[in-house]
């Protein structure tokens, strides 16, 4: 039996996530790993929106903020279990993405970029200013997910770092599996068709506005879940999560790794999460180095790291 490239990607991913801890010299690496996985999950959403459908969002941090604050607020005010709060955050994000995207995505061009930019800033402002509810810029505590305690009850005693490494790793594999399935589904093919040419896609019977809206809503849910995982993992959240820079960061990670490819998104998230940790010695030059890496990739590897490198290998093989 020949494995499809989808299964191969997922198996390699899962194997790497499972094997990496054997090389970890200390517990801190579990934390870095978990951070990478959460970022990669959000960036996978960007791949669906930007890589598949060709739409740009500059406000995805707004959805991460909604997901994060849902986990902080729903358990306290609505008495929901934190796990259900993740679902609630995802539902709210999806509804908001639908409301924002529906009128905007009927238009051609990059209107979504502008609308989502405004949306993201709006969410950040609400989180900062509604002190009565969100406690403002100082941030708010998030209740424990409780799953670690349950696992302990089953005889699986993981440290906090190990638990979140495993949990976010599993979430990422599931997220990547859904995104890869979507790629080969009718919706995925429709998305790629309209990425090529909206007019051509329309003439072959694709409801362009509807499919674009689907992509936007799905990617909003990815960002929201990633925000929830960040909040639950840190047990504390500040409005920074919804900040404009966080939106830009997500897009940058996707573009760096290769915006049309799920493994690329993960690699991009990995590199941009690791760099600041590796570069602490050069903390003052961190922005400079990030900018330089970005420029070099844009000039020499225009499709992003993974697709460009894959192409090179395939080219040689033939």
């Amino acid at each position: 039996m020949r494995l499809s490239s989808k299964h191969l990607t997922l198996i390699v991913m899962a194997a790497l996530i499972a094997a990496a801890p054997f090389f970890f010299p200390s517990g801190y690496y579990f934390r870095v790993g978990a951070l990478i996985f959460v970022n990669a999950l959000a960036v996978t959403g960007i791949v669906i929106l930007t890589g598949y459908a060709g739409q740009i969002s500059l406000g995805h941090a707004g959805f991460a903020g909604i997901g994060g604050y849902a986990c902080a607020l729903a358990p306290v005010h609505l008495g929901l279990h934190p796990a259900l709060a993740v679902v609630l955050g995802a539902v709210i994000s999806a509804v908001l993405a639908f409301l924002v995207g529906r009128p905007i995505l009927r238009l051609k061009g990059y209107y979504l970029g502008v609308a989502s930019l405004g949306f993201g800033i709006l969410v950040a402002m609400v989180l900062n200013n509604e002190r009565g509810l969100t406690k403002g810029p100082d941030g708010i505590e998030v209740p424990d997910l409780g799953l670690r305690a349950v696992l302990k009850g089953w005889g699986l005693d993981l440290s906090n770092g190990e638990f979140w490494y495993a949990f976010t790793g599993i979430c990422l594999v599931i997220g990547a599996w859904i995104a890869l399935n979507l790629f080969n589904s009718p919706t995925g093919r429709a998305l790629r068709a309209l990425h090529g040419s909206e007019v051509a896609a329309g003439t072959v019977g694709i409801d362009v506005a509807r499919v674009k809206l689907q992509a936007f809503v799905i990617s909003a849910v990815y960002a929201s879940v990633a925000g929830s995982l960040t909040a639950l993992q840190n047990k504390f959240i500040t409005p920074d999560i919804a900040g404009f820079m966080h939106s830009v960061e997500m897009v940058t990670m996707a573009v760096l790794g290769g915006v049309g490819s799920v493994p690329g998104a993960i690699l991009g998230a990995g590199i941009l999460t690791l760099l600041p940790q590796v570069l602490t010695v050069f903390a003052e030059y961190e922005q400079l180095i990030l900018g330089l890496v970005m420029m070099l990739v844009m000039i020499f590897l225009r499709e992003g790291l993974v697709p460009s490198i894959l192409r090179k290998f395939r080219g040689r093989g033939e």
Binding site: L16, R131, N234
Partner: protein, 381 residues
């Protein structure tokens, strides 16, 4: 793709490992917002710690052991602060942590430190950090609530019973506004006007006019930070409001007098730390030698004036050194124990006496009531 991932991941891991290999006998970690929106707080803190560690090692360290400082810049981001706290504890294996410039960063570090039972001294303002008391978390800056209390005490002495409040809507202003409204009743003072402004506003005459017209108002208090209070002070003068104006400890720096202008700032009162008025302290003052030495060393090394915020880091480090010296051990548990026993330690912010119930250890005497006269600070007590 397989090749890319398999070669990149180990390479990155190796690079991570290389970043932290140096050996020292006592390791102190710090995660500070040296860049980013809170850099004006974090930059002097980072510089202070670097200077103090250098000084201490030149003098032979603590109990003959050299101290190594592992300093990370979290940019004021709570998520990054948590990562660095994890790194300090798990990877660098530090014995104690100083840092958390912003309240959000402090709350993130605190969770990690409490989990690992490593003592943590926060440099952020909010009272939530030490209340309820957590076994391993301490902090050096006085709280907003104490600033309010100090101001109301002074008002009470002058028989002021009705005041107007004009606050910034930034984190600092809003937090202090809430704390002031919470304690004002204890001093028999009534808030008859409560106005706010956005930190980016360029004119506050509308709000001030409204306050002036409030019935019976006897003084005005401005909890705020940055340029807002300077504009309030200037507008106050332009409107020729003839009531005492109180500012907060958030603007206790020479920069405030410059921004507001000497004329407008005349007569403004605010609670500040001893660091701001080092030369004016009485000779017998317990804080005078500490404050003067820190100010002289910092200004000689960095050629910029000391700030209250650098002072917080100074005090955090002094508390740790004191605790490690008395404990005679650099075990986290021993340091924690000794921190709770800090007694009468003179810092730049105040004189610290910690107990198991009080992990701040300052009282209202930490603040000095200052008044601006002829473009300079004077102490009024």
């Amino acid at each position: 793709m397989i090749k890319t991932l398999t070669t990149t991941v180990p390479a990155a891991l190796i690079a991570l490992g290389l970043a932290s290999t140096a050996q020292a006998e006592i390791k102190i970690g710090a995660s500070i917002s040296a860049t980013g929106p809170a850099a004006f707080l974090g930059d002097p803190e980072a510089k202070t710690l670097e200077m103090l560690v250098e000084e201490l090692n030149a003098k032979g360290g603590i109990n003959g052991e050299q101290v190594e400082l592992v300093l990370y810049d979290d940019g004021g981001d709570a998520n990054k602060a948590r990562t660095f706290a994890t790194r300090l504890i798990e990877d660098d294996e530090v014995q104690a942590i100083i840092g958390g410039t912003t309240t959000g960063a402090s709350m993130s570090i605190l969770a990690v430190a409490e989990d690992a039972e490593v003592p943590f001294i926060s440099l952020a303002g909010a009272i939530d950090i030490i209340q309820p008391v957590k076994p391993n978390t301490f902090k050096t800056p006085h709280t907003d609530r104490m600033a309010c209390q100090k101001i109301f005490e002074d008002m009470k002495k002058q028989n002021i019973t009705k005041i107007g409040l004009i606050s910034g809507t930034d984190g600092f202003g809003a937090s202090m506004q809430a704390q002031c409204k919470d304690v004002v009743g204890e001093y028999g003072i009534e808030i008859v006007a409560d106005e706010t402004y956005d930190p980016k506003d360029a004119d506050m005459t509308a709000q001030l006019t409204k306050i002036r017209n409030a019935a019976g108002v006897q003084a005005v208090l401005n909890p705020g930070f940055g340029q807002g209070p300077s504009i309030v002070t200037r507008n106050y003068k332009q409107l020729a409001i003839d009531l005492p104006l109180y500012q907060s400890h958030g603007v206790a720096s020479d920069g405030f007098i410059e921004l507001a202008g000497k004329d407008a700032a005349e007569g403004v009162r605010l609670p500040g730390t001893a660091l701001l008025v080092a030369e004016l302290l009485a000779d017998g003052d317990a804080q005078k030698p500490v404050v003067s030495a820190y100010k002289a060393a910092y200004e000689a090394k960095y050629k910029t004036p000391v700030s209250t915020f650098g002072g917080y880091a100074h005090d955090g480090f002094a508390l740790l050194v004191d605790a490690i010296t008395r404990a005679g051990s650099s075990e986290p548990a021993a340091i924690r124990e000794a921190l709770e026993g800090v007694k009468g330690l003179a810092g730049t912010t105040g004189i610290y006496t910690m107990t198991a119930e009080d992990h701040l250890g300052l009282d209202l005497t930490a603040f000095r009531m200052l008044e601006i006269k002829d473009g300079d600070w004077t102490i009024v007590e």
